[in-house]
């Protein structure tokens, strides 16, 4: 319980400590905005069109594959914690789970979702 109180207070503290210098510097630093200065910086060329364009669907493939893997791996942590109490059969079941994950990876690989095009 003490640990969780500590974590809760830590979450507040880590927000304050980086935030305070930024706020202090805001009051100390000069403020002379003008139209040219606040333009978007793209190597001296004026920006063309909208910024938030549709860009490369390949990132989406990787994100989907990541989602599967991360969720499955989090399921494996309870198995790893209980490892010492498990029988050999229990360990084999965890390995079977990992093998299914491996087969999924090979399938994704064969489908060409891991090619950077």
């Amino acid at each position: 319980m003490d640990g969780w109180i500590y974590l809760g207070i830590f979450f507040l503290i880590v927000g304050i400590f980086p935030g305070a210098p930024i706020l202090i510097a805001y009051f100390l630093s000069p403020r002379k905005p003008n139209k040219l200065k606040s333009q978007i910086y793209e190597c001296g060329v004026e920006t063309v069109g909208e910024t938030h364009v549709k860009f490369k669907a390949q990132y989406y493939n990787y994100a989907l594959a990541f989602l599967v893997f991360d969720v499955e791996v989090v399921f494996l942590f309870p198995w790893a914690v209980a490892y010492n109490q498990l029988t050999f059969f229990g360990v084999l079941e965890g390995v079977l789970f990992l093998l299914i994950l491996f087969a999924a990876l090979l399938n994704v690989w064969r489908k060409g979702a891991l090619e950077w095009v």
Binding site: D2, T51, Y59, F77, V81, N84, F102, L114, W116
Partner: protein, 408 residues
């Protein structure tokens, strides 16, 4: 408990009994002590960045055959302080069309994401921030906050280069998180607990000896997570200017760098904790305060390795980086987890002594590494070579072999 053997806990216990003596409720006393402890960690870590920056610049100079900063203070050791004062007094320039709230929140969030990791790292056997029983899961959860902050910064800046940098970063970080989380299973399997302090206590033999391959994979993935060279694609200057923090200025820009330096030191500290035995060392039972010393020595050695890799290797291309993660690291780490789980169970079932266990695990790791390298080399050999574009190479006009016709 003596002051000389464990000063931090001595002071904490004294303060606790002092406050309880005032008649304060126990929860409030815990809260006050937690407040003091967490403030101290945050301040020490933010001050440590000054040392890390000067260390990186001086060592970077040495690795690349130049001096590094050598003007301010002895050997240029005070160079960071004028730099900090300068960046403190710079104007904040907000770009047109920026999403103000997200734009201002990103530098704070990226620094807090790194600081949050230090809440569960054990410094000595007794000085642990929060000894929670789900420490490893907490590390995974908090570790992905930084990715979110980078995406926030890139998206809200209203700049195409920043957005591209953010895309690349998110793709890189989520990819390398998979092998990292997979090899984190191995210390948990050996320990049977997810608490970080339990993992350190279980390392009578360091886990780097039991499973060197998993330590290597964790190190590589950590290098990619903190986006250090050879994986620093998010700030590839020649392609996308500076990546996600182009539009930041002043101290907001500074905090992105604070977070980067602190993150790579944090990852080194995690490697030291999970694989190099953390605070373990000689005489640590009698004098727990020695744990601080051992822990920081190990963390700085790993940090030195990080810098060495950073200044020695060139940057990889993005398709090479993603291929290396998905087609090399993830299959290897999946195999490693499977094989380690079976081998450890068989060894414990056979009642093997600790040296035999270490030897067998070492052999298994070397075998997996060797097979992986052979498969990768075979794949490389099967790849078709690129043909030269032309047989005769074009010669530039005015090259030294053809004297210039223009007279001065």
């Amino acid at each position: 408990m003596l002051f000389i053997s464990d000063p931090v806990m001595f002071i904490a216990n004294w303060l606790q009994s002092f406050l309880l003596g005032w008649g304060l409720p126990k929860e409030l006393v815990v809260a006050i002590l937690s407040f003091i402890g967490s403030s101290m960690i945050a301040v020490v870590m933010l001050c440590l960045v000054v040392a890390l920056i000067i260390m990186e610049r001086k060592l970077g100079g040495r690795f690349q055959g130049r001096f590094g900063p050598n003007r301010v203070g002895p050997y240029g050791l005070l160079q960071t302080i004028p730099d900090m004062i300068k960046i403190f007094t710079k104007e904040y320039i907000t770009p047109q069309g920026a999403d103000i709230i997200i734009y201002n929140l990103a530098p704070i969030l990226i620094t807090s994401a790194v600081l949050l990791i230090w809440a569960v790292v054990p410094y000595t056997s007794s000085v642990v921030g929060a000894d929670v029983n789900v420490g490893v899961l907490y590390l995974i959860a908090v570790g992905s906050f930084g990715t979110l902050a980078i995406l926030m910064a890139g998206w809200s800046s209203n700049n195409k280069y920043a957005l591209m940098g953010a895309f690349r970063t998110v793709a890189q970080m989520i990819s390398y998180e998979v092998p990292m989380v997979l090899v984190l299973l191995i210390p948990v399997i050996f320990t049977g607990s997810m608490g970080i302090n339990d993992i350190v206590k279980a390392q009578t033999v360091w886990f780097i000896l039991l499973s060197p391959l998993s330590a290597l994979i964790f190190f590589i993935a950590a290098q990619a997570e903190v986006a250090r060279a050879p994986f620093d694609l998010l700030e590839a200057e020649s392609e996308i200017v500076a990546g996600f923090h182009i539009e930041y200025s002043g101290l907001k820009f500074g905090f992105f760098y604070v977070a980067e330096f602190l993150h790579s030191f944090t990852m080194s500290a995690l490697v030291a904790t999970l694989f190099l035995g953390g605070w373990q060392g000689p005489w640590v039972e009698a004098f727990p305060v020695l744990g601080f010393f051992y822990f920081s020595i190990k963390a700085f050695i790993v940090y030195f390795l990080v810098l060495w890799v950073r200044f020695s290797l060139p940057r990889v291309r993005i398709d090479q980086m993603m291929d290396f993660c998905w087609k090399a690291l993830i299959p290897v780490s999946l195999t490693l987890v499977m094989v380690t789980a079976i081998v450890q169970k068989l060894l414990v079932g056979a009642g093997a002594a600790l040296p035999i266990q270490v030897a067998v695990h070492l052999m298994v790791n070397i075998a997996i590494t060797w097979i992986t390298v052979q498969i990768m080399l075979a794949k490389q050999a099967r790849k078709p070579r690129r043909k030269p574009v032309a047989d005769i190479r074009p010669v530039a006009v005015g090259s030294p072999s053809t004297p210039s016709t223009k007279s001065v």
